[in-house]
Symmetry: C2
Subunit: 349 residues, 2 copies
Amino acid sequence: MTTMKQIAQRVGVSVSTVSLVLNGRDGGRVKPHIAQRVRDAAEEMGYQPNALARSLRTNRTHIVGFISVEVATTPYAGRIIQGAQDALSELGYLLITVSGDDDKAVEGGIHALKRYGVDGFLYSAMSNRVVDVPESLCSFPLVLVDATDAENRFPSIEPDEFRIGYDATTRLIEAGCEHIAYIGCLQPMIAQTGRAEGYRQALADHGMRFDERLQCDVLNNGRALRAVEELYDAQRPDGFFCFNDARAWYVYETAARRGLTVGRDVSVVGVDNHRVFAETFSPQLTTIELPHYEMGYWAANRLVAAIEDHGVDEAQWPQMTAPLPPLDATSPAKVHCTLIEKESVRGDR
Amino acid sequence: MTTMKQIAQRVGVSVSTVSLVLNGRDGGRVKPHIAQRVRDAAEEMGYQPNALARSLRTNRTHIVGFISVEVATTPYAGRIIQGAQDALSELGYLLITVSGDDDKAVEGGIHALKRYGVDGFLYSAMSNRVVDVPESLCSFPLVLVDATDAENRFPSIEPDEFRIGYDATTRLIEAGCEHIAYIGCLQPMIAQTGRAEGYRQALADHGMRFDERLQCDVLNNGRALRAVEELYDAQRPDGFFCFNDARAWYVYETAARRGLTVGRDVSVVGVDNHRVFAETFSPQLTTIELPHYEMGYWAANRLVAAIEDHGVDEAQWPQMTAPLPPLDATSPAKVHCTLIEKESVRGDR
DNA sequence: GTGAAAGCGCTAACAT
DNA sequence: ATGTTAGCGCTTTCAC
């Protein structure tokens, strides 16, 4: 590892000069040709700044922590992290991920990150929920991903659930469906609520009556399949909007058992929570991919913006949430989800 | 942030004494009661060692880098990472994850990690493959996860693919199946090769002839479903061993279209690559979960063992791979995969 | 324009 | 048994 000292010796200047030049902090004060010689030497000797030493001095690590409770093993966690990672690497930051089954493990991780002096945190719930932010994070720069602060103190990035429901339903209507069912999720979540509202609004906007017998919220268990089969047999819907891929599978099974072909006899639009559709059902399915990657990406951007605007000064962070620069169209707080056409929802019409 | 200096002042000793006491490096040399006063003060003042400063001094960060090319967005990545994370946190280490679509992005990440002075690397391919280890990692402590070094220079942790095939097939035989098909993967991979061999060996060991018409290796596309349907119609197998969940879905669809019920009319054992089975097919399926978590866990353990045995001295690492302590039964290089019974493969026999 | 010097917080060899 | 000292590699003020 080459150090500034070695460069200084080689060129015959002092370390301070080297530091100034290499950091572009000399406002033309260092003579151009000597500055050039410093740069050349650095290049030649393969100089790499020692991040540790720099951080110790500047009190800025350019590292941010990604905290997620319980479910970082969930399939989509990776995409959020990837998005955050990409954004951060563009900005010259690094990401350290911490997750654990219980709060205690996570708390430990947060502690460790603090000892390393991370500049800020991303906090993620892995499915759009209202969460309690751990006390230990509150005095740090913090942005929530796919989650909302119960006390609404921190900026957050989440998917536009309403539009998911609205767009999916509209797509089915445009495909000619006249009895559209919604196979939802029985647990109360922002995602379920938002999507269901979007579904109803889309129906209303197209002059269709909402019929509660067409909405079927299920848990992920044995009863679910029966519920969907009963719904089908009783109501004979011609289109299904599915909360996620697990729910979509019930529709597929129901259809297959009745000799129906999805994409011809019945239309399905599903939210691809697990990126499974792409591998299995996809040929016959129109999917909506959750913008996990984008959420991670924008959250990281927002966090860094905050850090660089306000510094990492612990004490003043909690109050600064408000003056955060409002995100524009290119970096929304509610991220839009795109509908992906694998093949027509109603193949041969 | 309390520093050692502050503690020293408070207690009226020098920083070195504080350092010695707090690091337990005084072999009883510091007088017990003064040592106690130091510890009390540290406690009271909420002292947290500054990891940056320590690392700068000791040249050890207690951070390891997790490198994965392309597919860290893959669903199982999270489980490997979680395993590594848990092991590392037990050992007082932190994990920084780097992944990117292309080699260039990854290279950049590796660079950044080196600047922070990570102690070593884990390198993962996200599906058991033979890989070329990036040159930039070769002079560091390194362990491969779910991958094998093409030149066989580094320790690696991978699933026991042969046993997966063997156990799955045996399970089907024990359930009474007599014509067992293997729905495999057309790309050449360690996983495909190993599982197929296990399948054949299990057949042989139970006195059953391997019939190549019962092995059907497919890509994940439209033709796959047709291939499985043709296999079924021509050979009428009564049991299926499926390479992964995507392949299993073709079997489910085939069965559903023929009015057959999995678990009664036909038996299926599948490898749960994507943790989808658990959510969708599971009630009727016997699955084999890949030990992603365990692989991450053991790989991290092995890496730390190597680091602590041999230090992070760049120059000498490449040669030290051989003398690594052989892993014992509790930390195998080939990790055993367990068969998980959701319900009998052949429910009512 | 450039260099000397101080110091970030910690460790460890060397004095006392 | 404890303190002194000298850094680790870098940034930054202040003198020259």
